[in-house]
């Protein structure tokens, strides 16, 4: 151990310890925050995300939505490390084009989900640091939500929240959409208006308590008539 004695201003000795070579490890990842949410209804699907892009204690952008349109019937929400989100969506777009050219039809939501699983697993030993949720319509026109983990494990859900505020949103959705932990309540199917209102309320709550969620909310509503986008302001602090 090297120890250098230094004399300070008041005459007292200051100890300065230098413990040998210090290495600063480069991390290939960074966490850019953001929350994504998807809900499947009878004949619609909603994919919503906040638009804040942060890193550490800073906000890089207040207008960086995390929903990306893949086809006329499918939208993907990606949160986590923004670099990997961008690359992953570009890879998915390229694969969609290749499929369209080879098979002369658009990929269905289920097919996109299965393909994404293998794309993610292909990087099993250096994963894409992205939490994906796909929302869209299946072949029968019913709403479908597929949620993924960073290495490609996926399953079909009715609703799912992902990203930094997911642990806050998911229990609320379990209660309001899944009717969990409620006794003697009628299980009414979710209408599109009610679902959109629920998504707005849920994000307002998330913005209150999660530092990485806020600024604005982008909602994509997928129906057989196409994809409609709506932007709602959230807390900017």
């Amino acid at each position: 151990m090297f120890a250098t004695q230094v004399y300070g201003d008041n005459g007292k000795m200051k100890e300065y310890h230098y413990t040998g070579p210090v290495e600063h490890r480069f991390s290939p990842y960074s966490f850019n925050g953001g929350t994504v949410l998807a809900v499947a209804g009878e004949d619609f699907a909603i994919v919503a995300s906040d638009t804040r892009l942060s890193e550490g204690y800073s906000i890089h952008s207040r207008d960086s939505p995390k929903c990306y349109k893949l086809t006329d019937t499918t939208v993907i929400g990606c949160s986590g490390f923004h670099g990997d989100c961008l690359t992953l969506t570009e890879i998915i777009d390229a694969r969609l084009k290749m499929y369209k050219h080879s098979n002369n039809k658009c990929m269905t939501s289920g097919a996109i989900a299965a393909m994404l699983s293998t794309i993610l697993y292909g990087r099993r030993f250096f994963p894409y640091y992205v939490y994906n949720i796909i929302g869209g319509l299946d072949e029968e026109g019913k709403g479908a939500v597929y949620s993924f983990d960073p290495v490609g494990s996926y399953q079909r859900d009715t609703y799912k929240a992902g990203g930094s505020a997911s642990a806050m949103l998911q229990p609320l959705l379990d209660n309001q959409i899944g009717f969990k932990n409620m006794e003697g309540v009628q299980h009414l199917p979710l209408s599109q208006e009610k679902a959109v209102q629920l998504v707005k309320d849920v994000f307002i709550s998330a913005a209150e308590r999660d530092v990485y969620t806020g600024d604005a909310l982008r909602i994509c509503i997928v129906t057989k008539d196409g994809i409609k986008e709506e932007t709602v302001p959230l807390r900017k602090d």
């Binding site: 600063h24 991390s27 990842y29 099993r124 994963p127 983990d149 494990s153």
Partner: protein, 271 residues
Amino acid sequence: MALANVLQSESVDFSNYGRKCRGFSSSLYETELGLESVGGDNLSFAVRTACSDGDGPERKIQFLHGTTTLAFKFQHGVIVAVDSRATAGAYIASQTVKKVIEINPYLLGTMAGGAADCSFWERLLARQCRVYELRNKERISVAAASKLLANMVYQYKGMGLSMGTMVCGWDKTGPGLYYVDSEGNRVCGDLFAVGSGSMYAYGIVDSGLKQKDLTVEEACDLGCRAIYQATYRDAYSGGQVNLYHVHSEGWNRVSQSDVLMLHQQYQAEKA
């Protein structure tokens, strides 16, 4: 590496780095080490990030883990029972995961450990089984299917795969049950329970199987109860109990019961 030995604690900890590099071309002794470091810390992967948890906003990527799955042979085939919880660290990512993978109409695979690892490799196994069928014009045996899976994952031994699966089916020689894992184990047996809640499940099934000649209903009930007890005591297991029965004609899904409902049912029976 040599410098690290000389300076010991005064220098940067290269030991992790060294272990990872050695793991790929390793002697038996080092493989042990490599395994321990990888096997014990299930939430990590090959690349280590510089920041640890709590050090700034950087977080570790967390995969889905934790489970109870069991399968046992009996007079009328094989019973397969699993829970449906997936956890990412302490967060319950899902209560509705399908941990039984339907490889083909007469072969089932269970999922324990890393969710993506299990579903990916068993899907690949399904493909290989189909290729075998096309080439040989007959169904693949359970022993051969489990061997294919074991050999596939053995190539990735030491690289951090986490998979503990049971291949269950019925072939020419009768009911078949093999346990295959990412460490390279492949064992034939009459009863296996895999996952964080396996010890609790073993207790129930071992005592229930004492009396031989179970009927199908008794065996199904035993499997269901074993998983229920495991979900009761293991924090990482829960959700629903999915029950399958494999017989000579193939497999069929017996039931899917929510653990909360089962709890109320068993409480009522006790009273």
